[in-house]
Amino acid sequence: MNPRPRDRTAELQSDSATACVALSNVSVVYPGQENHPAVQALAGFSLMVREQEFVSLIGPSGCGKSTLLRVVSDLIQPTEGTVEVNGRKPAEARLARDVGFVFQDAALLEWRRILENVSLPLELAQMSRKEREERSRELIELVGLRGFEAAWPRQLSGGMRQRAAIARALATKPRVLLMDEPFGALDQITRDRMNMELVGISEATRATVLFVTHSIREAVLLSDRVVVMSPRPGRIVSVIDVELPRPRSLATREDPRYMDLIRLGAAELEKGYAGHGG
C-alpha cells in the first residue's frame, strides 16, 4: 500500500546514520537589538527526517518553522544543539550543493530569462553551458514551464514564477529540498494545482522534503509525516503519521482517512495553543 515503507523502530532509535536531516536539541535565539528583546525562536527541537521522506512542519506564525529551515540550510547558526544533513554539517552540505531551498517569494533574477534563472545554481557551480542548459530544460519540463524558457520573470504569473523557483532549487539534484510556504502567496485554485504538481515532482526527484506550511490540508495531502508545532518558542506538539496510499492524487482528498487526519491535525494545533495558555 505504501511505497515508502517506514520502520518505526529505526526511527525511534534516532539513528542519525539513516537520517537525511537530523536535528537534535536545537535552540535558536535571535539576539536582541536596541528596542527589541532577544527572541527564542526554537527551544530544544529534535527531529529525524529519513531519506526520501516528505515531512511538513505546521504551526502558528512565529513558531520557528522558517527558522528551522534556515538552520538546515546554513543561513543561520543554531545557538545550541547539533544539525546534520546527510551526515554532514549544514555548511558542508550547502557547499556540496546538496540542499535546495524554495522560498515563499520566488526570488527570481529579473534580469535573466526563465532558462537562465533555472540554471543559475549550475552556473554558480561552474558547470559547462551545454550541460547546464540541457539539465535546465529537463527541469523546466518537469515543472510544466515548457515554452517559457525565453520569458522574462515579470511576464509570468505568481504560480509560474514559483514553478521556476522550484526548478531552480532542484537544479543541482539536491538530496534535501527545503520549502518555506512556497504556495503561501498563491490563490487557492493555483495552490491546489501546485500541490498536485508537487506530488509528481517530489515522487520524480525522490528528494527528502522539509515543507513549511500554514495549511493542514496541504500538509496532509503531501506528507509522510506532519510535525505540529507550538507557538514560540517552537516545540513539537505531536507528529502525525500520514499513511495514505501513494501516489497521492485528487482521489486522496476523497479518502475518509484524509478528512480524519485533517481533523486530528487541527485538534493538535489547538493543543499547542492550549499549552501556552492561549
Binding site: 540550510s73 546554513d74 543561513l75 550547502r94 557547499l95 550543493r97 540542499v99 535546495g100 531551498f101 522560498f103 517569494d105 526570488a107 533574477l109 529579473e110 534580469w111 535573466r112 530569462r113 543559475l120 545554481p121 552556473e123 554558480l124 557551480a125 515554452g147 517559457f148 524558457e149 525565453a150 520569458a151 522574462w152 520573470p153 515579470r154 511576464q155 531552480r168 543541482t172
Partner: protein
C-alpha cells in the same frame, strides 16, 4: 510557442514605424514654434540682438559652420571625457561605500556636501589647479560626474532582494559571483539614473568651465559673442549645446534599453 518571448526589442525593420509616434510630436512642436517665432519677430520688428528670428540663427550657423562645430566638438569632448572618468571613479567609491560601513560613515557626509557645491563656485578653483587647457575643463566635468555615480552606485548595490541573497548563499556562491551575478545587475537601473544626471550636468559643467577661462568651446563662443552683441551666433551656440545634450541623453537611453530590458522602467515600450 517557443519564440513567443523572443525580443520585441530586436524587431529590426519595423523600428521606425514603431518609433514614429514618439518622433513626430516633438518635430511638429519644433516646426510650429519656429514658424510662430519667425512670424512674430518679423511682424513686430523685434531687433535681432534682443530676440533673433530662427532664420537669423540658422544663417549665423551656416555663415561659419566649421568654426561652430569645432567649438561644439571641444565642449563635447570635455563633457564626455569628464562624464566617463567621473562616473567610473564615482562607481568605484560607491562600491566601496556599499561594502564598507566604516568607509561610508567616514566619507558619505562629505560626498553629500561636495555634491551640493555649485559648479560656478568650484570651477575657478579647479581651473586654477589644472591650468588653461582642456584638461581643466575635463577636471570640472569629472568632479561633477563623480558624486551622482558614487551615491547611486551605493544605493544600487544595497538595493538587492534579501531573498535572492539567500538563494545565492544556499547555492554556495562566491563573493565575486554575488557581486557580478546579483548585486551589480540589481544596481544597473540606479547606475543609469546617475549617468543620466551626469549627461545634463557634464554639458552644463563644460560650458560653465569655459566661461571662467577658455579660448575654445561653446562657452567661449557664448562669452565672446555676448561681448560683441553678436546675438544670433550666441543663440546658435545655445541651440547646439541643447542638441548635444539631447543626443547624448538619447544615446544613454538607448544603451539603457539594451542593457536592462528586463527593468520595470523599460516596460512602457514604444
Amino acid at each position: 510557442m517557443a519564440d513567443r518571448f523572443a525580443d520585441s526589442e530586436r524587431a529590426g525593420i519595423g523600428w521606425l514605424a514603431k518609433a514614429w509616434p514618439l518622433i513626430w510630436p516633438p518635430i511638429a512642436t519644433a516646426i510650429i514654434v519656429g514658424v510662430v517665432w519667425e512670424v512674430i519677430t518679423i511682424a513686430l520688428e523685434i531687433p535681432s540682438y534682443f530676440v533673433p528670428a530662427p532664420s537669423r540663427i540658422w544663417s549665423a550657423f551656416w555663415g561659419n559652420p566649421g568654426a561652430l562645430m569645432f567649438h561644439a566638438g571641444v565642449t563635447l569632448l570635455e563633457a564626455v571625457s569628464g562624464l566617463i572618468i567621473g562616473s567610473f571613479l564615482g562607481a568605484i567609491l560607491g562600491t566601496g561605500f556599499a561594502y564598507s560601513r566604516l568607509l561610508s560613515r567616514g566619507l558619505l557626509p562629505f560626498v553629500i556636501a561636495a555634491n551640493t557645491i555649485p559648479v560656478v563656485a568650484i570651477a575657478p578653483i579647479i581651473i586654477l589647479w589644472f591650468g588653461h587647457g582642456i584638461e581643466s575643463k575635463i577636471a570640472v566635468t569629472t568632479f561633477l560626474s563623480f558624486f551622482p555615480l558614487a551615491l547611486n552606485m551605493m544605493k544600487g548595490l544595497q538595493s538587492y532582494d534579501r531573498t535572492v541573497m539567500d538563494v545565492f548563499h544556499v547555492a554556495a556562491a562566491t563573493p565575486a559571483q554575488r557581486f557580478f551575478k546579483m548585486r551589480l545587475p540589481s544596481a544597473l537601473p540606479f547606475v543609469f539614473v546617475g549617468i543620466k544626471i551626469n549627461v545634463t550636468f557634464s554639458v552644463i559643467g563644460a560650458i560653465v568651465a569655459e566661461f571662467v577661462q577658455a579660448d575654445k568651446g561653446l562657452g567661449f563662443v557664448i562669452m565672446t559673442t555676448y561681448r560683441t552683441l553678436n546675438m544670433p551666433r550666441l543663440w546658435a551656440a545655445l541651440v547646439i549645446s541643447a542638441v548635444i545634450g539631447l543626443v547624448f541623453f538619447a544615446i544613454v537611453t538607448a544603451v539603457e534599453r539594451l542593457t536592462i530590458p528586463w527593468h520595470s522602467s523599460m516596460r512602457a515600450e514604444l
